[in-house]
Symmetry: C2
């Protein structure tokens, strides 16, 4: 896993373009990972995020028990794993073992960093029980952020390698890769 | 403006891949449009969305006054307008007149539909004052959804024309176009 620290005030850039995420969690001996397209930045500094986590999931249980989660940003090379972790439940299988997902320890909590991803945002839950119970909506403060310097450095994504492009989920196993960059001149 | 109704239960597909949005609003004689990358689906049916709207904006004032907003999904052809509406304030200029932005009337409220976009989600605010005041976070229920049938039909995006690709904002005038579609076979 190649990773470099990303300054907290730049953490929002890791998600600003709306890629799909993997939510990793751990509590005690248990850990899990699920896919979430419904995640976005919520604030710049301190950086915050919002993510929707269904109440039936093991991930939800582990987030509520630990008060922590990590948003991992996957790339095209592991799109198969992204679909697979979204297609089974951690209540029935150990997704890490079954799907051959390697991890590294988190730096500020127990939630693992998923190998093969290109960015990682380690978060603590900002407790908002009404949002959680009514909307399955969790808010988090980003405590540490990391990126693979091959694709994100100096505050910019650079997708020279198609396999390392971030990805966006549509439906039914269909994704879009993050596409061509272009610049619009300001006024 | 080419648009066809999108079934409400499919409305989340218009935003699932994380494109940048334009938030349009109106109240009385006043109307405005701003850019927002921090927007995501929140529920399938009835469809809900979440969007961050800074407390200093005219858009915020018009949302609070009207209880309505529309999320417009722009495409590459109008990326210049997207950057421009995010670079000035409706308190100082009429963005529609200054930037030459045409609109059509909304179907369920006063918020206009922005011409040149490829999808539109007309929303009513789900009142959550704590989220709005503490996090600038607004939740909405989608009351009507529309898409340009050249790029979204039968629940699928098809980006055959590069100019009609949806776009994702990075920073500093830099965007990514929505890229190549690919499919991962399920287990």
């Amino acid at each position: 896993m190649q990773r470099q620290a990303v300054a907290l005030e730049a953490a929002y850039l890791l998600m600003n373009h709306g890629p799909v995420t993997l939510v990793s969690t751990a509590h005690g001996e248990r850990r899990n990972v699920m896919a979430a397209s419904w995640a976005m930045p919520l604030d710049f500094s301190p950086p915050k995020v919002a993510v929707v986590v269904d109440r039936t999931t093991l991930t939800r249980e582990l987030i509520e028990a630990s008060g922590r989660f990590t948003l991992n940003i996957p790339c095209r090379a592991i799109a198969g794993q992204v679909l697979a972790v979204g297609s089974c439940t951690g209540r029935e299988v150990d997704k890490f073992a079954t799907l051959g997902i390697a991890t590294a320890p988190g730096s500020v909590g127990d939630a693992p960093l998923i190998d093969g991803c290109v960015a990682w945002l380690e978060c603590r839950v900002i407790s908002e029980p009404h949002n959680e119970q009514r909307y399955d909506l969790f808010l988090g403060e980003v405590l540490a952020a990391w990126a693979d310097p091959r694709v994100f450095a100096d505050g910019r994504w650079r997708f020279d390698d198609d396999a390392l492009r971030t990805i966006h989920y549509l439906a039914g196993g269909n994704f879009l890769a993050s596409g061509d960059p272009f610049t619009v001149a300001g006024e």
